[in-house]
C-alpha cells in the first residue's frame, strides 16, 4: 500500500459557535473570524507537519484546494507545494486540486504543475478536480458548464504538456492561438494524474477510460461507498477491455492513531466531530448548485435529503462505524486497513492526519505511530497491473 499524507490546512482555532449565526464555514462565514497572526503560525505548523511526513517515510505529501472557507486554507495550492518542493527530498508531492472549471486560464495550471515537476525532478502528482458545489457560488463559475469546462481544460493541459508548440487550441470555452509551454514537464510524457471524487458514474467512466487510466480517489465517504465506486471503476475498466490495477484505486479519509483504542477515541472525538459536523457542514443549496450534477443525480440527491437533514449530527463512534474515520491503537488501525484493502482492493491510502481543530502535538504523534507501527506491515501492494486485454 502507498501511504499518502493529506492535509486540508483548516483554520483550526475557528470559534466553533459560528454556526449559531452562520449557515456554514463556507462562503457565508465572515473572514473577520480569521486572525492573520494565528494564520502565520498555522501555515508554518502545517508545512512542518507535511515535512515531518517526508522524514517519517510517507510516499506522497498531498496538498489541496478550497476557496473562501475555514475548512481548508489552501486556495492556491501551488504555493504550498512550492514550499514543500525544496524542503522535502524523497516523497512525491500531490496537488489534489486544481479545480479546473473555477479557473479562467487552464494554461496557468499546466505551467504551475510543470514548474513543480521540474524543481522536484519529477516528484509531482497532478490532481484535477471540479471543485465542490459551494465553490461555484464563491468564485462565480457557472456550475452548469462545469463538466464541459473541466474536460476541455484537461484536454488543453494534456496537449500543452505533450505536444510541441507553438500550436493553436480551438475549444468551445478556451481558445488560444499559441500554446507553447515553457517549461515542459520533467516526467515524460507527463506527471501521473489523480482524480479525487465523491463518486459519480461520469467521473469514473472518464477516469478509467483506456486513454487515461487515471488513479481514482474516493474521498471522505462511508466505506460501503468506497467499495461501491472502486468496484464500479474495475467493472468499467473491464468493459473497456482491461483489468484495472489496485494502484489506480485510492481511498482518502481521516485517520487517527494513539496508544490504545480508548485513548484514540477520546483524543480524536472533538476534532473529528468538528471537522465533519462544523467545518464541512453546509446547506444543500451551497453544496449542490443547479447544474453541478445531472438532472437525474440531482433528483436522487433531493430525495435522499429528507432523511439526511432529519438526522442528528453523527458522533465519533458513528463516523468510525460508517467507515468514514479510522481510529484506534496501531494494531486496530493496521487490522482495519488490512481488512478493507483485502476486501476492496486498493493500493493508495490517502490519510488525513490533522483533523479539524486537532492541535499539532496530537497530529505529530498520530502520524509517527502510523509511520512506525502500521506502515511497515502494510507496505506490500496487492495485485499487479495486468497487460491490457484485447480492446475491441
Amino acid at each position: 500500500m502507498k501511504f499518502c499524507l493529506f492535509h486540508l490546512m483548516p483554520y483550526a482555532p475557528l470559534d466553533l459557535t459560528f454556526d449559531e449565526k452562520y449557515p456554514s464555514s463556507w462562503m457565508a462565514l465572515p473572514n473577520s473570524y480569521y486572525d492573520p497572526k494565528q494564520g502565520h503560525v498555522l501555515y508554518n505548523r502545517y508545512l512542518d507537519e507535511l515535512e515531518l511526513g517526508d522524514q517519517l517515510g510517507f510516499d506522497v505529501l498531498c496538498v489541496n484546494e478550497h476557496h473562501q472557507t475555514a475548512y481548508g486554507l489552501m486556495a492556491t495550492p501551488g504555493v504550498l507545494a512550492g514550499a514543500l518542493s525544496r524542503r522535502t527530498k524523497r516523497a512525491r508531492i500531490a496537488v489534489l486540486g486544481r479545480a479546473l472549471p473555477l479557473l479562467n486560464n487552464p494554461l496557468s495550471v499546466a505551467e504551475e504543475y510543470a514548474i513543480l515537476d521540474n524543481i522536484t525532478g519529477g516528484r509531482l502528482i497532478a490532481g484535477f478536480v471540479r471543485g465542490i458545489g459551494v465553490e461555484y457560488h464563491s468564485t462565480g463559475a457557472n456550475p452548469a458548464k462545469s463538466h464541459e469546462r473541466f474536460h476541455e481544460a484537461h484536454d488543453l493541459i494534456l496537449q500543452a504538456w505533450t505536444r510541441i508548440g507553438p500550436f493553436p487550441f480551438e475549444g468551445k470555452h478556451y481558445q488560444f492561438q499559441y500554446v507553447n509551454l515553457w517549461p515542459r514537464p520533467y516526467q515524460q510524457p507527463h506527471p501521473p494524474i489523480w482524480i479525487p471524487s465523491q463518486g459519480s458514474t461520469e467521473t469514473i467512466d472518464w477516469a478509467s477510460h483506456p486513454d487515461r487510466k487515471y488513479t481514482y480517489l474516493q474521498t471522505f465517504s462511508p466505506v460501503s461507498q468506497v467499495k461501491r465506486f472502486h468496484t464500479q471503476y474495475k467493472e468499467t475498466a473491464e468493459r473497456y477491455g482491461y483489468e484495472a490495477s489496485a494502484d489506480k484505486l485510492g481511498w482518502a479519509l481521516p485517520i487517527y492513531v494513539s496508544d490504545t483504542d480508548e485513548s484514540a477515541r477520546r483524543e480524536a472525538k472533538p476534532h473529528i466531530e468538528a471537522m465533519y459536523n462544523k467545518f464541512l457542514r453546509m446547506p444543500l443549496e451551497f453544496l449542490l448548485p443547479p447544474g453541478y450534477t445531472s438532472v437525474a443525480s440531482m433528483k436522487k440527491l433531493r430525495q435522499a435529503k429528507a432523511s439526511f437533514t432529519s438526522d442528528k449530527p453523527p458522533d465519533c463512534d458513528e463516523f468510525i462505524r460508517r467507515g468514514m474515520f479510522i481510529c484506534g491503537s496501531p494494531e486496530t488501525v493496521r487490522q482495519t486497513l488490512e481488512h478493507h484493502q483485502n476486501d476492496i482492493g486498493f493500493n493508495v491510502l490517502v490519510a488525513m492526519m490533522q483533523i479539524g481543530s486537532m492541535p499539532g502535538e496530537l497530529t505529530r504523534r498520530s502520524m509517527t505511530l502510523l509511520a512506525e507501527k502500521v506502515m511497515p506491515k502494510l507496505r506490500d501492494p496487492i495485485g499487479v497491473e495486468s497487460p491490457a486485454l484485447a480492446v475491441g
Binding site: H137, G140, N142, A144, K145, L284, E285, P290, V295, K299
Partner: protein, 261 residues
Amino acid sequence: MASSTTETVRVGDCSVNVMRGGKGPPLLFLHGAGGAGLWLPFMAALSERYDVIVPDHPGFGRSDTPDWLDQLSDLAYFYLDFIEALGLDRVHLVGHSLGGWIAAEIAVRNTRRLRTLTLVGAAGLHVNGVAKGDIFVWSQEERVRNLFVDQRFAEQRLAQTITEEQGDIAIKNELRTADLAWQPRFHDPQLRKWLHRIDVPTLIVWGEGDKIFPKPYGEAYHRLIKGSRLEVLPACGHLPQVEKADAFVDLFTRFATEHAS
C-alpha cells in the same frame, strides 16, 4: 374564461411545447426562470382579447434542449425565428423575469414584428449598489416565500403536491437558469448600451416589494428605454401577473389598447 390548447411547435431543429388560447392580436408571453407551468388565470383573462401564446423556452419545461443553446441571447434569436415561423405580426411581447430579459434582448435586435413590449420584473440589467436576491442560495421554501408579499400565495404554492414530471421539470428549469444566468448574474453588461434602440411602446410593470430584482431595476429599465411607462404595483412581489392578476391584466389591456393601431 377562454381555455387553452397545448401543441408542439418545431422551429428549425428545436421542438417547443406551446400553450395557446384565445382570439385577437397575438400576445407572446415569455416565462421566467420557474417555467411556464399551467394556464394561469391572467393568461385566461388575457385570452378573452388576445391570441395568447405561451411557449416553454428551449431548454425548459417540455421543450427540447438544443445543442446550440449556450447563452441567453441564443433564445432571443430563437424567438425571432419563432415569430417568423408562426407567421405572427404586430405582436404584443410580454416577458416576465428571465423571460423579460429575453424580451428586451429580442427588442434591441429587431422590433419589426412587434407592436408593443411589456417587461414584468425583468432580469437583464444590473444596478450597482442594489443587491439582487440570490435565488440560488435560498432554500426551496425561501424561494417560494420571497416571490410574494402576500404570504397566502406562498402558502398555497407550498401546500401543492407536485407530480414527478413537475419535479423533474423544476430541476431542469433550475439547471437551465443557472446555465444561462449564473454569471454575470441575471444580466448582460452589454444590454444597457442598446436599450435605446427599442422603438415600440414599452410598458414596465414592477412589484414594489420585489425581492429578486428590487424596484430600482424597474426604474433603470424605465430610464434606459425612451418613452417607456413604468407602473409600480404596491404590496406586490416578483409575480405581479399572479399576485395582482386583475391589476396587471387591466394595466396591460389599457396600454395595449392605446397602442392597438
